[in-house]
């Protein structure tokens, strides 16, 4: 359904005052050669911490950010090379849910207006009755009942969870095939999170939707995802099915990440893999393997040579010079 190949998103950076005068351009390689496939009806998770490039990748796939190179094939067309008019038509099929339920819906519009806007903009409906029907259905789908009551409300009259449901309803109203969700539950309370996650899973089943789910929380990824791509500083570190990657991680970064994720069980004793330092800025990209300054197993070759993203077994891939060492 969705095929991303060697997607790269680079931002130009001009360093300091000299940048204004010289034409020399430094690039921030926010996303570097990311590739993955998503099958219809599946949930692919893009996981990574701050600065990993996961959000930028998602934006580039939806052509909300300009990509530098690569291709994104969706329903047979390469999104990145489509002319503007055709791209706008394709947008109906791929929608996005943002992270912040307080900011992603216009505070000055009523819920009804928010939900009819996509329909009006894309001229997909011919009559007002049909628009109302779609809005009604969308509100029912996200369990904001009675729909009539919620349609007339404004965002400030809704709780965080309800706003996020409106955002999801907005994503559904155009009847898309692909839904990109950017940390949709990170700003919601714990007791609401599972509600929304379950809602997304229900919607996927009901409408055979395909999801691209972005998160920094591996627990969420495990709950909702089928496949996962672990990103660090713009590159893929590991890729595979969620269960596999979480249970038997290969890449040192993944292993460290998983060992450090806390678990709500005080009796579980864990071995924590210590990782020094913090994620460097994208302007100061380490040479060779991007993780080498922090990796507990770094060697000379890691400093100089960038590892390839190689198959480990089946659909598992990892980018470490010593992949074989870590395979269980």
């Amino acid at each position: 359904m969705l095929s991303v190949e060697n997607l790269s998103v680079w931002f130009p950076a001009r360093s300091g005052v000299s940048g204004i005068f010289t034409r020399k351009e430094q690039w921030i390689r926010a996303v570097d050669s990311v590739s993955f496939d998503v099958r219809k009806g599946e949930v692919m998770c893009l996981a990574g911490e701050s600065g990993s490039g996961k959000t930028t990748t998602a934006r580039a796939i939806l052509a909300l950010t300009r990509a530098k190179s690569g291709s994104v094939k969706f329903v047979g067309k390469d999104i990145l090379s489509l002319p503007k008019a055709e791209l706008r038509k394709l947008r109906c099929k791929m929608q996005i849910i943002f992270q912040d339920p307080y900011e992603s819906i216009d505070p000055r519009m009523s819920v009804l207006e928010i939900l009819t806007e996509p329909l009006e903009v894309n001229k997909v409906t011919r009559s007002r009755r049909e628009r109302e029907r779609r809005v009604h259905k969308a509100l029912e789908d996200v369990r904001l009942l009675p729909p009539l009551e919620f349609a007339r409300r404004f965002p400030h009259e809704l709780s965080g969870g309800q706003r996020q449901r409106v955002a999801i309803a907005r994503g559904l109203v155009l009847q898309p095939e692909l839904l990109v969700a950017d940390e949709p539950v990170s700003m919601l309370d714990a007791s609401i999170r599972v509600q929304i996650l379950n809602l997304l899973l229900d919607l996927r089943e009901e409408y055979d939707l395909t999801f691209l789910y972005i998160t920094h929380d591996l627990a969420q990824a495990r709950y909702i995802g089928n496949d996962i791509v672990i990103m660090y500083l713009g590159q893929m570190m590991e890729r595979g099915s969620v269960e596999d990657v979480v249970a038997k991680p290969v890449h040192p970064y993944t292993r460290a990440l998983i060992s450090n994720v806390p678990v709500p069980d005080p009796t579980l004793k864990r071995d924590r893999i210590a990782v020094k330092g913090e994620t460097p800025s994208a302007l100061d990209m380490p040479s060779g393997c991007r993780f080498h300054p922090r990796c507990p197993h770094a060697t000379e070759v890691c400093k100089t040579k960038e590892p390839e993203f190689l198959q480990v077994n089946g659909d598992r891939y990892s980018a470490c010079h010593f992949n074989d060492r870590w395979v269980a």
Partner: protein, 309 residues
């Protein structure tokens, strides 16, 4: 939107032993931060402590005057505010910002304060030469260490940490939590850790108080509360928490939304969302009662529900 009086914290009681880390858990609006601010007597304008006692070292803080509180703040109890690490003054060196607290509270000379700041940096795992750096030269985790150093500046007995690791990456999170535990041990520090993240509390705290809508739902030793939960809210929260361990299955979520504290539900505040609610729950607001050597719950039916679950 309406105005009114929000009973943000209602009848909250707990004790904090010396050298112990107590977790204050709950969702947004449950009153955990308000409780912490009340302890420090730093409520925002419009907030009032209606009744109750806050006893530290045999003194009741509620009865203290503003002047007396000034003496107690930072010297006996200090706090690392939520998001404080992003509120460092960007144009003043971090060492000076830490020293400022010392100068203010203990009336020592600036050079002496800076010297102590350097020692504090070592204590929190930062290179003491970095006292002359500016905030933007530090990463997130390191800035949080600076905030912890600041909180420890006057050698307090109790430190309150409000969401100390929420904004940090997971590997940095572990290191900061380990730092807190180490300080707890080394300095016999008592810590109140406020967070909405139950897994953080599970791994670091000795005891925990689960708050809901301004009241304590369950309180006790961390193992008891997590493994042998009595309150339906606690039980639901812990089982419906996506985790990377444990079996992979669909969780049943808690229906509804947290209540509006200007008009909280009648009776037990959790009853609208509780699968076991009945007439009593709708009318009677349960008190916190003891159910084990270090385990308290405020539910009308604790005992009966155990058998049903």
């Amino acid at each position: 939107m309406h105005e009114g009086v929000a009973r943000a914290v209602e009848n909250v009681s707990f004790t904090l032993k010396e050298g112990e880390m107590l977790g204050l858990a709950g969702e947004s609006g449950c009153g955990k931060t308000t409780t912490a601010l009340s302890i420090m007597r730093l409520l925002p304008p419009g907030g009032r402590i209606l009744n109750g006692e806050i006893i530290v070292d045999n003194e009741d803080l509620v009865k203290k005057t503003d002047r007396e509180m000034k003496d107690i703040r930072w010297k006996k109890i200090s706090i690392v505010f939520q998001g404080a690490m992003n509120a460092l003054n960007p144009v003043i060196r971090v060492g000076e910002q830490v020293a400022e607290a010392i100068v203010e509270k203990e009336k020592v000379a600036k050079t002496e304060a800076l010297r102590r700041a350097r020692l504090l940096f070592e204590l929190v795992g930062l290179d003491s030469s970095r006292v002359s750096d500016y905030p933007h030269e530090f990463s997130g985790g390191m800035r949080q260490r600076v905030m912890i150093a600041m909180a420890l500046a006057c050698d307090p007995r109790i430190v309150i940490a409000d969401e100390p690791v929420t904004a940090l990456d997971v590997v940095v999170q572990t290191r900061i939590l380990e730092l807190l535990k180490e300080l707890q041990r080394k300095l016999s520090l008592s810590v109140i850790l406020i967070t909405h993240d139950l897994s953080v509390i599970a791994e670091t705290c000795d005891r925990v108080a689960i708050m809901y809508a301004g009241k304590i739902a369950e309180l006790g030793n961390v193992v008891d509360v997590y493994k042998d939960s009595w309150h339906p809210y606690t039980e639901a929260l812990i089982t419906a928490f996506p985790s990377i361990a444990g079996e992979k299955r669909r969780f049943r979520s808690i229906p509804g939304d947290p209540p509006d504290l200007t008009s909280p539900p009648s009776g037990c505040r959790f009853h609208p969302r509780c699968p076991f609610q009945d007439e009593t729950c709708r009318t009677r607001d349960p008190e916190l009662r003891k159910i084990g050597p270090d385990h308290y719950v405020s539910c009308n039916y604790g005992e009966k529900l155990r058998k049903d679950i």
